[in-house]
C-alpha cells in the first residue's frame, strides 16, 4: 500500500515532526504488524529519527550549519560552470551537502497497529532549503487487519438492507435506498470481537441499526425543514410531511422488530435506550434554537444524546451480540461516545467547506446546532457581529457574512483540533481491552470519521 505525505515548510532549515501523520496512515490502512518505509522525494530534504525538543532541534540546526555552512563556495552554486540551469535555481550547495549527512530513507516497525518508537523518538522530515512544498513517499507492508473480510462484511450488510427493503411496500421503501453509513460498520466490526461471532446475525443487526438511524433522519428533515440530504430531496420536501412521518414510523417500528427478533435482550435494551436519548436530545436541540447558537456545554449535552448515543449503542450492541466480556462492551461504549461526538463536530465543519458538495452555510440558515458557530459567537473580535447577525433574519447575504466570520475567527481549527483529540481519546479507550486483533480496524474507522476535515 503506497501513499504520499504532503506538507509545506516555512523556514530555510526546519524539523517537521511527521510521527502523528504516519501513525494515522498506519491506522487508516489497518496495518497490524509490519513496516512503514519512507523516502524523501527531494535532494534537499532528509529524514531522521530523534527527540522533538526545541533546544535540541536548534543544536542540530547549528551542527548542520557548522558542517556545511551556507555560501562556503560550493561548486554547485557556480552556475556559470553548469548546463541547463533553471532561471530560479537557488544557490543551495550547502543544502545538498547537508542532506548527504542525513538520509533520504527510513523504515519504522509496526506492531499491534502502532508504530514501534521509543519514548523520546519522533520521525522528522528535515527541511534543508526551505520554505518549500514537500512530499515524502510511504509504503506500508505486512499483515493488514482483515481487509478482505471487511469488504465482504460491507457487502453482507448491503445485501441484508436490500433484502429488507425488497419486502416492504413501495411507498415506504423507496426513500430508504441509501449508502450504508458508519454505524452499521461499527456494529459489524464489534460483532467480530467475542466468542459467538456470527457474520449473518451481525449483518441483520447492522441493517436494523441503519434503518433506525434513517428513520430518525426522515423526521429530523421535516423538523429542520431540510430540502436535501446527501444530494437527494428529503422525504418531507419531495412527498410532504405526512408521508415523512409515516415512513419514519414504519422504519422505526421495523428496525425495533428486527432488533427484537435477533433475540438478545442486552442488544434490544441498548438500542432502545439510545433511541430514547436521540429523541429527547432532538427536543433539546430545537429548544436551544431560541438562544441560538447556544454554548459549548449545551452543545455537548445535545450531541451526546442526538449523535453519540447511537454510535455508542452500535458498538455495544455488536459486542454484546458476539458475547464479548463486559469490560470490552463498556470500553466500546466509551469509544462510541467519543467517536460520535467527534463525528458530529466534523459534520459541523463541513457546513463551512465549499468543496463539500453541500451549500455553504446551510446549517446557519436552518439554525442547526454547530460548534464552530458557537466558538465564533464567543470570539472577542468577530463574536459581536456574529451574534447580531444571528439575532436577525438570515438571508443569503447574512448567511454568507456569518460563514466568512466563522472562517476568519479561528473557530474551525479549534473544532478540528478538538475532534482529533476526541478520536485519539477514543482509540486510547481500546488499549486496555482484548479486541481479537480488531483494534487497528476500529481505529481506522474512527480516523475516517474526521478525515473529511483533515
Amino acid at each position: 500500500m503506497s501513499h504520499r505525505l504532503d506538507f509545506v515548510t516555512t523556514h530555510a532549515t526546519e524539523f517537521v515532526d511527521l510521527t502523528d501523520r504516519i501513525r494515522d496512515e498506519v491506522r487508516r490502512a489497518g496495518l497490524r504488524n509490519g513496516r512503514v518505509h519512507m523516502q524523501s522525494l527531494h535532494t534537499t530534504l532528509g529524514l531522521a529519527i530523534n527527540e522533538n525538543e526545541p533546544l535540541l532541534l536548534h543544536d542540530f540546526e547549528s551542527l548542520l550549519d557548522r558542517l556545511a555552512p551556507a555560501g562556503a563556495g560550493y561548486e554547485h552554486d557556480d552556475f556559470a560552470r553548469r548546463f541547463e540551469v533553471p532561471l530560479d535555481e537557488p544557490a543551495n550547495g550547502h543544502a545538498h551537502c547537508r542532506q548527504l549527512l542525513l538520509s533520504a530513507f527510513a523504515t519504522l516497525m509496526v506492531e499491534e497497529g502502532d508504530l514501534v518508537l521509543g519514548r523520546w523518538q519522533s520521525m522528522f522530515a528535515v527541511e534543508l532549503d526551505g520554505p518549500r512544498q514537500r512530499q515524502v513517499a510511504l509504503q506500508l507492508d505486512g499483515e493488514f487487519a482483515r481487509s478482505d473480510e471487511q469488504v465482504s462484511l460491507e457487502a453482507l450488510v448491503e445485501l441484508e438492507l436490500a433484502r429488507q427493503l425488497m419486502v416492504d411496500p413501495e411507498p415506504v421503501a423507496s426513500p430508504m435506498r441509501r449508502l450504508v453509513g458508519l454505524r452499521p460498520k461499527l456494529v459489524q466490526l464489534t460483532a467480530g470481537i467475542g466468542p459467538r461471532s456470527d457474520p449473518l446475525r451481525a449483518a441483520e443487526l447492522a441493517a436494523a441499526v441503519e434503518l433506525l438511524h434513517n428513520a430518525t433522519l426522515i423526521h429530523d428533515d421535516y423538523v429542520d425543514e431540510s430540502t436535501h440530504r446527501r444530494g437527494r430531496p428529503t422525504v418531507a420536501a419531495a412527498e410532504g410531511p405526512e408521508r415523512a412521518i409515516a415512513v419514519g414510523d414504519y422504519y422505526f417500528a421495523k428496525a425495533t422488530r428486527l432488533i427484537a427478533q435477533i433475540g438478545n435482550g442486552g442488544v434490544t435494551s441498548a438500542l432502545a435506550e439510545a433511541l430514547e436519548a436521540v429523541c429527547a436530545s432532538q427536543i433539546d436541540d430545537v429548544a436551544m434554537r431560541g438562544s441560538y447558537p447556544g454554548d459549548r456545554d449545551s452543545y455537548m449535552r445535545v450531541i451526546r444524546g442526538k449523535t453519540a448515543s447511537l454510535f455508542a449503542a452500535a458498538c455495544e450492541s455488536g459486542a454484546l451480540l458476539s458475547g464479548a466480556a463486559p469490560d470490552v462492551v463498556d470500553a466500546l461504549g466509551r469509544f462510541g461516545v467519543l467517536l460520535g461526538t467527534a463525528f458530529q463536530m466534523a459534520d459541523d465543519m463541513v457546513d463551512f467547506s465549499p468543496s463539500s458538495g453541500k451549500p455553504v452555510g446551510l446549517d446557519i440558515r436552518q439554525r442547526v446546532l454547530s460548534l464552530p458557530l458557537i466558538y465564533a459567537a464567543e470570539d472577542r473580535v468577530v463574536g459581536p457581529e456574529v451574534r447580531r447577525l444571528l439575532a436577525g433574519a438570515l438571508g443569503d447575504a447574512e448567511v454568507g457574512r456569518v460563514a466568512e466570520l466563522v472562517t476568519a475567527s479561528g473557530a474551525l481549527p479549534r473544532v478540528r483540533q478538538e475532534a482529533k483529540g476526541l478520536i485519539d481519546a477514543a482509540v486510547r479507550e481500546l488499549d486496555a481491552v482484548e479486541l481479537d486483533g480488531l483494534r487497528p480496524a476500529l481505529a481506522g474507522l474512527a480516523l475516517s470519521a474526521v478525515d473529511r476535515i483533515s
Partner: protein
C-alpha cells in the same frame, strides 16, 4: 401505578398525563392482567405512550407541527424502551408489527386501522 415509575417514565411528558394519557393508560389495564403484577403497569404505560405518540404525530392525518412531532417521537421511543426492558419477545414483535401496519397504511394514503385494537391484541401475543 407507582409514583416512582410515573416520575421516571413521564420525564418531559408530564403534561400528557392530564391531557388524556391517564385515560389511555387505563384503557389498557384490562389487557395486561395475564402478566406479572410488576410488569402490568409498565406494559400498559408502554401501550399508552405508543398510542399517544402516534396520535401526537398526526400519523394517517394532518402532520403535526415539528415540536409536537418530536414529543410524539419521544413517546414512541419511551414506549419502545419499556417494551424492550419488560415485554416478552412476542409482544415486542407484535407491537412493532402494529405500528408497521398503521404507518404503511398512512404512507399509502389508505384508512388507518384502529391502533388501540391492534395494540391490545399485541399485548396478548404469545408467538
Amino acid at each position: 401505578m407507582s409514583v416512582q415509575l410515573l416520575d421516571r417514565e413521564l420525564d418531559r411528558l408530564e403534561g400528557l398525563w392530564s391531557d388524556g394519557l391517564s385515560e389511555t393508560y387505563g384503557s389498557y389495564l384490562d389487557a395486561v392482567g395475564h402478566f406479572d403484577p410488576e410488569m402490568q403497569p409498565k406494559l400498559a404505560l408502554a401501550a399508552a405512550l405508543i398510542e399517544a405518540g402516534v396520535r401526537l404525530q398526526g400519523l394517517g392525518g394532518r402532520a403535526a407541527p415539528p415540536t409536537t412531532l418530536l414529543i410524539g417521537d419521544l413517546c414512541l421511543a419511551r414506549g419502545s424502551r419499556l417494551l424492550a426492558d419488560n415485554a416478552p419477545l412476542a409482544v415486542q414483535v407484535a407491537f412493532a408489527r402494529a405500528i408497521e401496519t398503521a404507518s404503511s397504511a398512512a404512507a399509502a394514503g389508505q384508512p388507518a386501522p384502529a391502533l388501540r385494537q391492534l395494540l391490545r391484541q399485541s399485548l396478548g401475543a404469545t408467538r
